[in-house]
Symmetry: C2
């Protein structure tokens, strides 16, 4: 059993700053009080202890309070991605067998019409009922469920337990250290593990989170230059904008700023060099939804010496390569207390691990010193501005259209987003690009829609007729 | 499964300083190599994988290398206290069913003659054999066994597992923070949890340990004043000597020195005030063998405001008082992943917990803010210079003498040691003080031997004839 993080943190450091948003600030004790109130309000509206619910809303304190209210009730929280299409959201809500979605008013229209909803205002304005709050949580209790795709093209709901989140936060602290003055800037979506893990760390570490609703270059540059924040998780495209902002204003990072943690794909060497010039330590990371955030991190010291590497595993994690020889490329396998125990819904029976090892589908190697290099992301994964796009998922949608016989999707490099998806299609009957776009908009999040469609006669396939996505680009 | 701490640390930060002793220093990689060699040598001499062995030796690097060699073999290490009498050591060795004691040559004479021994030199000089080293350890694997007494007077062998040690180190880091520059001064015995836990932290945190064979006031004062160390665990008597040493030389602690962690009994207010004057942050702690080190710690900020308190539990720990009302005194109960799963030997069947709660036998209360105050140590525990003395154990020994009918032991205040034991005896036949002293020396560690013997007609007993130790002092 582990203590309820929210109650324990409020007990240990009640008066410390926990959250800042714009001009408002909350201590851990205040957050406890508000979240306990939410729990009572949720209970009054029929939300049961340990019920699985979904959450949807912009990154604002009220979303956090709502999440913490759910955590007091030990609910399993399905974290909905605000960028998804109605069809995608419907799939997740059905797969998770969620009866009700707790939704910020501003996001009601994002949801399919037929879904049962409770708006944040309804909850916040209701009168609570007395409810028993667990003071401790079992290590295998599911806190969050986040959907991620894979080789099949069908998103899988990944369980992230008390033990997963905790060991992730603890492994990380052994790597980057901790002081009472630490303040994390959170400008990543809270529905992604990159954002949510910042909240978990705050509860465990007792440090402040400075929350942004959206990334704001001017504010971030100021916060970093003035030492208002000490840590920030980013994706490469955001890092570049911050570097650019500092350079533009001829500012440097404050010496109080400790580390920038980029995830979701490689950081170009020139960014690292510019960061170095601006006094920003960069620790590149490698992680995924199934590992509740970072599994490996490259220290700033090694940033240039081991360019292209994502570093070594964090303390409680193990990484091995499924290859015959040391130093050879193979599938990256991960083991540790941060690895998900499994999926929900249609993939509930599918084990994510074999003999305790998570098979990532990513290809990589370990150099002679044990540094990990990721050479190819799983399932030809496309990473666009930190969001994962699985070609199989986009192909499935395209092939669902009557006019399309075959589809192949791959990523191409993009100045702004790192990568963007493009599609190659074999037609059954004619279709206009506008029609295609409209069809995709109904079915897919915008960031997943191919930026270009190329009509071809046939797709490159191997002997067993399997699509060879890596050869798609040769058709250009 | 958790990684073998020694291998994982050497993999992650091979070149960082791990240990300093006098003018010698070792990196984590060097410690790994030496300890792997020890494991191979131990195996060559017949030590089996997972065998239970005992260790005895002064606090020197070679003892640490020997321990780590045993840890590679996943041996259960019974940590023998060098201050014990032969009779006490024999009891522990028999109770633990240890077949062989690994002993530093200098300590051979401390052991009973009939015990099977392997000296450190024999091991260090032998040729190793190839042996399989586990790369990960189960969470419930016993790392150490430390003997502690209690109400019965018979010492109990307490298991301390991978999970116990780990969660203790992790809880502590969430409380006091961590930076790469941290260096712990270790001048406490490695056979006690207070010393051994410094080694565990070093492996998990990746920080350096500066080891002293014995406490040395001059060196410690210099290390603290020059910022050569950042953390130190102490008992009150040692803290006072350091304060005195600094005052004598008109020195202050370096700003690099972060925190002094006193355990094993209360720190007098005047020490805290002097520490404050000298720039030393003091965080008083409360812990025991059964909780693998600290279970609660008072922050330096609260040191004077909450004088006499041992603070709040560490993050993963819970403390409650077995009393009817909030704020009332009662037995202190502890729960958390740091609590021992149980004992070995004659107490193997006795569970240390009830419904997951460790019943400490200590009496205390929580104030309205949740700060713990220990008002009476378990079983009238006497704490003398940081060593625990259980009256029942000493009484048992005294009553084992033909001339003694009854015995009662309690502690009195002492300028140097905090407390020292004294004894009240009812005689069957005459006996000289010299005879008594000689008899005790054979049976008891020196620090446990009563400083005074008072012959009385009868001992204070309650209605059910139970000795009332608290009334003993009234006989003076």
């Amino acid at each position: 059993m582990y203590p309820n993080w929210i109650l324990q943190r409020a007990y240990l450091t009640p008066t410390r700053a926990a959250l800042t948003f714009g001009n408002n600030s909350w201590t851990f004790d205040q957050i406890k009080e508000i979240s306990l109130n939410r729990a009572e309000q949720l209970a009054a509206l029929g939300i049961q202890h340990k019920q699985r619910i979904a959450l949807l809303g912009p990154s604002q304190p009220r979303l956090i309070f709502m999440m913490y209210g759910c955590m007091h009730l030990q609910c399993e929280m399905v974290m909905l991605n605000r960028k998804l299409s109605k069809a995608e959201l419907e799939y997740q809500i059905q797969d998770a067998e969620v009866e009700v979605v707790l939704v910020d008013e501003t996001d009601v229209d994002i949801l399919p019409a037929n879904i049962q909803k409770l708006t944040f205002s309804t909850i916040e304005e209701s009168k609570g009922v007395k409810v028993d709050i667990a003071h401790d949580w079992p290590v295998d209790q599911t806190i969050t469920i986040m959907y991620t795709s894979g080789t099949t093209g069908f998103p899988k709901g990944v369980r992230q337990t008390v033990g997963n989140h905790q060991s992730s936060a603890l492994s990380s602290v052994l790597n980057i250290g901790l002081t009472e003055e630490d303040v994390w800037l959170c400008a990543l979506p809270l529905f992604h593990i990159s954002g949510f893990s910042i909240l978990v760390r705050s509860l465990l570490y007792g440090n402040e989170v400075k929350l942004y609703e959206k990334f704001d270059k001017e504010c971030a540059v100021q916060d970093i230059a003035e030492g208002r924040v000490t840590h920030m998780s980013v994706v490469a495209v955001i890092l570049e904008r911050i570097l650019h902002g500092l350079e533009e204003k001829q500012l440097k990072a404050s010496p109080k700023f400790k580390v920038m943690l980029p995830g979701g794909g490689p950081v170009p060497k020139k960014y690292l060099e510019r960061a170095h010039q601006l006094g920003i330590a960069v620790c590149q990371t490698y992680g995924m939804t199934e590992t509740s955030s970072q599994t490996a991190t490259l220290s700033n010291k090694d940033a240039l010496r081991k360019l292209g590497s994502v570093g070594k595993p964090l303390f409680f994690n193990q990484i091995k390569i499924d290859a015959n020889e040391q130093g050879r490329e193979g599938e990256i396998l991960i083991r540790g207390p941060h690895v998900t125990p499994g999926y929900i819904g249609r993939f509930a029976e599918k084990s994510p691990t074999i003999d305790g090892w998570l098979h990532t589908g990513d290809i990589g190697y370990l150099d002679e010193e044990g540094y990990l290099y990721v050479v190819d992301r799983r399932s030809d994964l496309i990473i666009s501005g930190g969001e994962n796009i699985y070609p199989a998922e986009v192909e499935n949608v395209l092939m669902g259209h009557d006019a399309i016989r075959e589809a192949g999707v791959c990523g191409i490099e993009d100045e702004v987003w790192g990568q963007v998806p493009i599609a190659f299609i074999v037609l059954k009957s004619d279709i206009s690009e506008e029609e295609l776009q409209k069809y995709c908009l109904e079915k897919l999040a915008k960031y997943k829609i191919p930026k270009q469609f190329y009509v071809v006669q046939e797709l490159p396939r191997n002997g067993s007729n399997k699509l060879m996505r890596r050869k798609l680009k040769d058709l250009l």
